[in-house]
Amino acid sequence: MSNDLPAGVERRTYDGRERLATQGEPVYGEPTDSDGWRAWDAGRSKLGAMLELDMDTGLDGGETVLYLGAASGTTVSHVADFAGPTYAVEFAPRPVRDLVGVAEDRDNLFPLLKDARDPSSYAHVVEADVDCLVMDVATRGQATVAIRNKQFLADDGRLLMAVKARSEDVTAEPDDVFDDVVSDLEAEYEILETAQLDRFHADHLGIVAQPK
């Protein structure tokens, strides 16, 4: 038996193909059905890909989530559909314009135009002991960002991280980059599972970890 999907995420059929779906207002032109479910495109969402690949994310639904690298809100909109209070941090102003639109349709999504490398700039807003830290930041030093943001995570919380090899070093072999990131993370986190997301996202590694 594969790992269970969180409550609020289901596999439903769109155009004859079984896909992940959540219930909420559509955001990016994804297929919807008459029951108010909308497809969660794993090709546009690293967290979606991690769920599609049956990684054990530890998500049950209803969690408090801190999401770093929310961009225009594609993935975070699905997270807010099944999770509890969801804090969405994004650094670039242009995508935040779209993210605000996504937040306006949801009661539990809080957009923050802040730099994930500088947690003190949002520690006065984001609550302590969140259940889940999702990271999808395209910056150099992704492990450092994860370590700096560990302070928000509950002791038994999960880090769900998508490492983009090309953001660390465009010239290096992705596998070498992944090894480096994982070994940097191990200073502060216990790695529970890793998987290449290549089926959906080239040169990305999905990591599930827990604070040490």
């Binding site: 961009a71 209070p85 670039a92 102003p93 242009r94 995508p95 935040v96 314009r97 993210l99 605000v100 937040a103 306006e104 009661d107 539990n108 999504l109 809080f110 957009p111 923050l112 135009l113 003190s120 700039s121 520690a123 006065h124 807003v125 984001v126 609550e127 302590a128 002991d129 395209a138 910056t139 302070q151 928000f152 090309r166 953001s167 465009v170 010239t171």
Partner: protein
């Protein structure tokens, strides 16, 4: 006193809450929902999240509007002001050095000379005037440096890819010459290539000269560090990627390392010609 975003905020004033979100900071997170209830800011947790939602949405949309609407305008003015300050300072400096030469024996040339004069203690009314005049020139030079620092700080957030590729000052110049980041994103890369070379371009269009190979992008090492025979190619490749960078910055805003690596490769290939073909 707590660091919470709602500290000192009137619960019925969403604008104050938004300011708290934007301007506050804390060394560490805390159980803010519980604190908010305890301090009487809200009656219960669900009201807290409602308030938080209002405050974060307002904070984010205000800040987006400010940063998007204004950053390229600020850069445009800053880079023009920087050029004005430099040009004027040089003009004043020329006068200072010439004048000071009639009063003092040992006047270093150029801008060093001006700083030197500005530090002297005048003993006669004429010296008083020339030292005072030199002080204005030095102030302008300092202002130019401050403006440059301002551009270097602002450009990476206004146009992350363009600033990374061209350097902050050239990025600001390109935005200024095009008349805004949106305009720069919309012109073809051939225009980006000759921005700042308008005189040469019009001379060419009226049949008096060959077409200019580069405009202000000549100041970048990718162009001026390439041998003259290959400069046209380098300028074209560079302009092409600058154009892409400006479009990413305008339409998407996220940083894309791939574009920068592609350009580095391309320039290396162009420069490798110098070693291959020729003796």
């Amino acid at each position: 006193m707590t660091d919470a975003w709602f500290a000192g905020v009137d619960p019925d004033d969403p604008a104050a809450g938004a300011t708290g979100v934007r301007e506050g900071s804390a060394d560490a997170p805390a159980d803010w929902p519980a604190e908010a209830v305890q301090s009487g800011f809200v009656a219960d947790e669900s009201e807290y999240y409602e308030r938080l939602r209002e405050a974060t949405i307002e904070a984010a949309s205000d800040e987006v509007a400010e940063r998007e609407g204004a950053d390229d305008v600020q850069l445009t003015h800053a880079v023009r002001a920087m050029d004005d300050a430099e040009r004027t300072a040089n003009e004043l400096a020329e006068r200072v050095v010439e004048w000071a030469g009639t009063l003092y024996e040992d006047v270093p040339r150029g801008l060093d000379g001006v700083r030197d004069i500005a530090d002297r203690d005048p003993t006669t009314p004429a010296e008083e005037r020339v030292v005072s005049y030199a002080t204005r020139a030095v102030d302008l030079l300092d202002e130019r440096d401050e403006l440059r620092a301002f551009i270097e700080e602002r450009a990476p957030s206004a146009a992350p890819n363009l600033a990374e590729m061209a350097g902050p000052v050239l990025a600001a110049r390109l935005i200024s010459l095009a008349g805004g980041l949106d305009k720069l994103a919309k012109v073809p890369s051939g225009t980006v290539q000759v921005l700042g070379a308008e005189d040469a371009l019009f001379a060419h269009l009226s049949g008096r000269a060959s077409s200019p190979k580069h405009g202000v992008i000549f100041t970048h090492e990718y162009v001026n560090g390439t041998r003259p025979e290959d400069r046209g190619s380098a300028a074209r490749a560079f302009a092409g990627k600058l154009s892409i960078a400006a479009r990413i910055d305008h339409y998407s805003g996220d940083y894309r390392p791939e574009v920068h690596a592609e350009l580095t490769d391309r320039i290396e290939t162009i420069r490798a010609r110098a070693e291959e073909g020729d003796e």
